[in-house]
Amino acid sequence: MAYRVVGRSVARNDVIDKVTGRAKYAPDVVIPHMLHGKILFSPYASARIINIDTSLAKSLLGVRAVITGKDVPYTYGSVIKDRPIFAQDVVRYQGEPIVGIVADSEVIAEEALNLIKIEYEEKEPILDPFEAMKADSSLLHADLGSYQHNKITYPEAETNICSHYKLRKGNVDDAFEKSDYIFEGEFSSQMIQHAFIEPIVAVADADNVTKRITIWSTACNPFVIRKELSSAFNIPMGKIRMIVNNVGGSFGGKAYSKIEPHVAALSLACSAPVRLALTREEVFNLIVRGPGHFKIKTGLMKDGTIVARKIETVWDTGAYAECGPVIARNSGHTAAGPYRIPNVKIDAYCVYTNKNIAGAFRGYGVQEATWAVESHMDDIAREMDIDPYDLRKKNILHYGDEGATGQIVEGTGLEQCLDAAWEAVNRKEIKRKSGSKLMGRGMACVHKATLAPSVSSAIIKLSEDGTATLLTSTTEQGQGATTVMAQIIAEELGLPYEEIYVSGTDTDYTPYDTTTTASRSTFSMGNAVLLAARDIKEQLMIIAAEYIGVDKDELTFEFGKIKVSSQPEKSYTIKEIVSKYYGLNGTLIGRGLYRPDSVPEDSETGQSTKITPFWMYGTQAAEVEIDIETGEINVLKLVAAHDMGSAINPMNCRQQLEGAALQGIGNTLYEEIKLNDKGITVNPNFHDYKIPTAMDSVEIESILIESQQKDGPYGAKGVGEPALAPTGPAIRNAILDALNIGLNHLPLTQEKILAAIEENKEKLEGC
């Protein structure tokens, strides 16, 4: 079917505001009489607080409030409620908030910070998750067993394991017995930061008498945060209003509460609006992607058929759970790879350590799991002397197969992705050697589930002039969601795309949406928007029938025009119908609510007939060049072929693929947050923590595979997260191809590459 707006790369509807600098972000919020907050963060990773003396700070002119854990003895956290707003005698990571200050200016607040005297008893931090898992390890959270937690978290009381997720399918032990070959591998991924451009900022305007709180923030799931605040402060949700305008990048790092509880506490303490803005350094401690460790064992038959896979993963989540348990679980869905494997056993441990808080990072652990399993796939291929492409081709999931979670594959563009990416990277012959440089090619596949259960709702207001406004709580964080939603409305109602306006999020006015994460917005919110548009259409038909004076059954709707079967020459525009019906003032309100199907997992086996409403698939291929004298690596080309169901806005999709590939290059080659042996971050800034610059960009060929998701809006599903995952292992496998050396521990710095070359000189001989 041919669409008029959907499937076209219309210009983004936020482009002018963003190019001219008019677009408003949380850091731009200024309220009359606004005060400024600052937080004193712990300089130690592990300590006991003996005494806090705030008297000098309190007496400084211009200081309005000083609060500590004693003033707000509340905890928060929607995955595990384990986190104090301000430390309660115990410090569990460097950067733990200890004291909050409100002052007339940020400078005064900072001066006041320097006047606070804290006596700590420093303790030896637990930094190694494997040590933390030992039975005799001291505990970060002695009360873990009594903490509230959500249904998909499996804490082990009296340990540092805040969740142990299990997936059991078939019988791996029997299958290993019968396998012709068994391969094992160990892999790890490092601590990195999201590096969103906009640091974390929040402004709260709260009143201590009425307990009404309004917060402007950089959050990407304001409703989740509202719930966390409601539970922490014991204030009804309706009294809490979260407003999110544009967000300057999130990549999952702005999901869940960040400084919203703190700014709320500060504002309540003085019943005045307070702004709290973190510095870049502070952001580095507050939210990271935690390190991951992977052990994989795979059994295969002689012909390359995979029959069993066993995986043990350890997720170093830092001092508080954040969404670590969800990461352990969600990565578990995917960890066995997008392959047809009858016997799978996965154990994922999410472990507390005295480190920076780990949270979601573009894929909820899928990037890391993909790193491990796809690297392992190429190692297997090499050992068995099979082409890595053939090994994948033989085992990938097809329509009708049962995946590791027990869900039947309903449609997959995976094979198309695999073929397209591999074909594209092999289009030209490569010179395998030139001077001190060796070249190679590699590939990696990914599959990813989205969030379930979840809810999206949307309201469309059709104004008297026939233009429409969408009220939605999907946050625009650079991904282009507002554009896609407007395209869906324009297509469904036949209105000009330019005349559809999309709101920011305001929990007082825009209806519920679970979160803008998990690559779910185009699918879930897209469906809600589609339903709202259809609701409008339904109402239009009723009033049109009344206005024209015919029976509703005689009317048809064709791209913005209402036609009467008995008067084929005539048609009525939406504007005409609406304005005539109401006179000049009146609004139609369309409502859409979408709750995709899903079935909860069995807690012992992780099995479910529908763990997720849809799966996303992709394959990437890389061509690299390595200087064997210096270890320098150049990514010459990246191909990213992904199945997004259908591309509602192809340019948006390509931007996701290209942006993710570049982010993936940094994640793979040089990004790493380094801690010293006391657990202190040594490179918390963009001078010392390297992300790719424009000069590091490479040739990226993006290929859009459109398999048509049957219940997606216009066939669409998601693409944001899976686009990142295969980049790393594709590069790694290309290095393997070039050097005959497999590197298993991220990041693949030139230094590590050179050391590996020097250790494996003999392997290079054949290259």
Partner: protein, 290 residues
């Protein structure tokens, strides 16, 4: 957040010098500020005063070609140097160095004087200036000219006294059949200080191909930017070709004294120094041939 400080802006070099003398409290000079501001923000060295050299362009900002060589005012930015055809053609190592400082934005602001006076072991102009025989023109109670080799005394340290300003840098004209190059190894392609930098200068006898003169200097390889005299000596009198360049590289690595930081380990730096030195020498030679 930045600590507060008093900002002074003298209009002449003389005024600047007298301000430095009469200043009560700690002060620092600021040129482009790309090092100073970063350092103040990280809380390391909050001075009471910043004395800006910005208005002294007439005295410190001139790039002048003379009969005997090139005079570079301390305030000349990396970008101006990078764009100068003379530097591109005749002082290629310096071009290689300054054109790879940070990004265009940083090069538009950062000055060569600031780069030298920050005296970091990683300064990208330092190794090129060392092999180009640069002289530093320093003013204070009196004006003096010293060889750049005498300038650096430790990481971030130099011989400048509290009442002295670097006025300009002089680079003598290179003799015939000579050329220079600077190789920089970083982790990414821009906004990167060198993991190791290697500069070289050689002069050859066009007929015999014998190396008549050679200088080698390294960045990020010791507590200060250094010359590698032993490596240089092996080259002189030898036929300029890869074999001897490799040997010089190995000697240079022995003369180096790199450290382990979170950017790179000592071992890694040691293993790439010979490669970069050899590549730098080969590039210098190729430039002569062209």
């Amino acid at each position: 957040m930045l600590k507060t400080f008093e900002y002074l802006q003298p209009k002449t070099l003389e005024e600047a010098l007298s301000m430095m003398k009469s200043c009560k409290g700690s002060f620092r000079l600021i040129a482009g500020g790309t090092d100073v501001i970063v350092q103040i923000r990280s809380g390391k060295t909050p001075p009471d005063y910043l004395i800006s050299l910005k208005a002294l362009n007439k005295e410190l900002g001139i790039l002048e070609e003379k009969e005997e060589g090139l005079d570079i005012g301390a305030l000349v930015t990396h970008r101006i140097l990078e764009k100068s055809p003379t530097i591109q053609k005749e002082y290629a190592a310096l071009y290689d160095g300054v054109s790879q400082v940070g990004s265009v934005q940083v090069r538009n602001v950062g000055t060569i004087g600031g780069n030298v006076c920050s005296s970091l072991p990683s300064a990208d102009s330092a190794a090129p200036l060392l092999i180009l025989g640069a002289k530093l023109n320093i003013v204070g109670d009196r004006e003096e000219s010293i060889c750049i080799e005498e300038f650096f005394t430790g990481p971030g340290e130099n011989i400048l006294k509290n009442n002295q300003i670097l006025k300009s840098i002089f680079i003598p004209k290179l003799p015939k059949n000579s050329n220079s190059a600077y190789e920089k190894l970083g982790r990414r392609k821009a906004m990167e200080i060198p993991v190791v930098g290697a500069a070289s200068y050689i002069q050859v006898d066009k007929k015999t191909g014998i190396c008549l003169d050679a200088r080698i200097a390294l960045a990020s390889s010791a507590p200060t930017p250094i010359r590698c005299y032993k490596a240089e000596q092996t080259l002189v009198g030898q036929s300029a070709e890869k074999e001897i360049f490799v040997k010089a590289g190995k000697l240079a690595a022995q003369e180096a004294n790199p450290r382990t930081s979170f950017r790179a380990t000592e071992e890694y730096r040691r293993s790439v120094i010979p490669v970069l030195v050899e590549r730098s020498l080969s590039r210098s030679l190729n430039r002569i041939k062209k």
